[in-house]
């Protein structure tokens, strides 16, 4: 009798599996990223992705990083992102978050953990990469991760091929991202020395930005300014005044330094008159 019951249970399980399997397959196909992590963790992976990005920032500061108990800067981008949008040589450091020690225990305890604000240098920036890769795997829609990783790969680690591959991975997950396109254009312009492809990519980036602006998506004006800045630099390099003038006019509308842009416009007009 028991054998019959066991056999019946086994047959039921088998039948149920054949019924359920197609539904699971359908569910997996509907999932955009289709990764095991996405299936297992759902939306909670975004929280972990932010955590791993913060970990990369902590590594960039060689472990000198605030805890939830410290007076950290609450809002704004991380230093990793700030560096990715600044000119080289930028060295503006915030005041130490630790402040003066409250008592002798805290003063003594500071001997045992990093207390100096420094950044990774001399190729050691590579140490942030595993955490950025992990962050991107967990949240493929976190655009900042691709941009920051690509910046360090192409500027400090001399790995433009890897930067491009990572940006293209990001672009597949975020096809409307003008930030990723801006950085991809930089890889072609500065590293691959292919300005015509770079310019085409930046023009697509501009289109994407304007499309989001028209649909009231509130795109980042700073990125728009950066895209135009790169295009103006290319125009000046190639001496293409026909393209330079409209680019400068567009840049003037958003630039905080309108007077200097106007000066460039006047110069371009003077050259065209000749």
């Amino acid at each position: 009798m028991i054998r019959l019951v066991l056999l019946l249970v086994f047959v039921c399980c088998f039948s149920l599996a054949t019924v359920l399997q197609p539904h699971f397959d359908l569910g997996h196909r509907q999932d955009k990223s289709g990764s095991v992590l996405a299936a297992l963790m759902g939306d909670s992976r975004r929280m972990f992705a932010n955590q791993f990005f913060a970990k990369a920032d902590a590594y960039f500061h060689k472990g000198f990083y605030p805890t939830i108990f410290d007076n950290a800067k609450k809002e704004g981008p991380s230093h990793l992102s700030e560096e990715a949008h600044e000119a080289p040589g930028h060295d503006e450091h915030e005041e130490g978050f630790l402040g003066p020690p409250h008592d002798w225990i805290e003063r003594f305890g500071r001997n045992f953990f990093p207390t100096v604000h420094t950044h990774l240098q001399g190729g050691n920036q590579r140490e942030i990469l595993p955490w950025l890769q992990l962050s991107a795997d967990l949240d493929p829609n976190r655009i900042e991760t691709y941009v920051v990783a690509a910046y360090w790969l192409r500027t400090q680690l001399n790995k433009p091929k890897e930067a491009e591959a990572f940006l293209r991975q990001g672009l597949r997950a975020n096809p409307d991202s003008y930030e990723i396109l801006l950085e991809l254009g930089r890889v072609y312009y500065y590293n691959n020395k292919n300005p015509s492809v770079a310019r085409n990519i930046w023009e697509i980036a501009l289109q994407k930005w304007r499309k989001q602006d028209e649909s009231k998506g509130k795109p980042d004006v700073r990125i728009y300014e950066e895209i135009l800045g790169e295009m103006v630099r290319d125009d000046q390099q190639t001496g293409d005044l026909q393209k330079l003038l409209p680019d400068l006019e567009a840049l003037k509308l958003v630039s905080p330094n309108k007077e200097s842009v106007q000066k460039y416009i006047d110069d371009a007009k003077a050259k065209m008159a000749h």
């Binding site: 225990i105 953990f113 590579r126 955490w131 790969l153």
Partner: protein
Amino acid sequence: MNNVMALSGVVIIEMYRRKDFYVLFVMTALITLILGSMRFFDDDMIVRYLKEVCLLLIWISSLVIAISTTARQIPAERESRTIFPLLAKPVSRAQLIAGKFFGCWLACGLALIVFYLFFGVITASREHAWPMASYFQAISMHWIALGIVIALVLFGSVVFTAPSSNATICFIIVIGLMFVGGHLNKMALVPGMSGKIIYAIYYMIPHLEWYDLRDRIIHDWGRVPWGAWAGAILYGILYSGFLLGAAWAVFRRKTLTV
């Protein structure tokens, strides 16, 4: 002293006969080696994530070994009634406490040497460096921290009846001390009586966070000033002594009949 050493020897033999250490070491090694085999952006010089994971596993493993080994020492002796002939030897109750403490502490020290040797080899295979002074400070500080934890668990084992409850409570206390202990003074900035109470607790608790040199090792910050290292070692020894004294004070008045 001979009695204490004899008791310690028994604890050390017990530890290498049990499977706890081997299982934890194999797991640590396996996870580290699997992570080490991963390549990120075709760069084989990335090492700090590996150091971080390996050191984290070493800390977790060492705490598990220290707490689980220590928590069962006295309750097991009582349960199997071997404590009666042991105390009739004559071995005093103070010697029993000291013997159990040194046994667990030395056993943890041996385990730490194996763990850190593995860590050193893995790190050197990527970084090609052996910062001996930093490693010596890290292992000695870690060992002293485990001494405080073992003394705490021994104290718990004469207060709580079951080893499982003692181990669980001690785990929670140790994790709390490591993550929150050093920040209690910031929490105590609230005005009023509660702030004063939190500050008093801050001064009373053992500051285990001092002994965690992982960030210095991972990010190559070099060694701690020797004066600070010596101060932390002295603090740890004194705190362990205090906890052992408290354990003995409770144990000497405790009725041992089951």
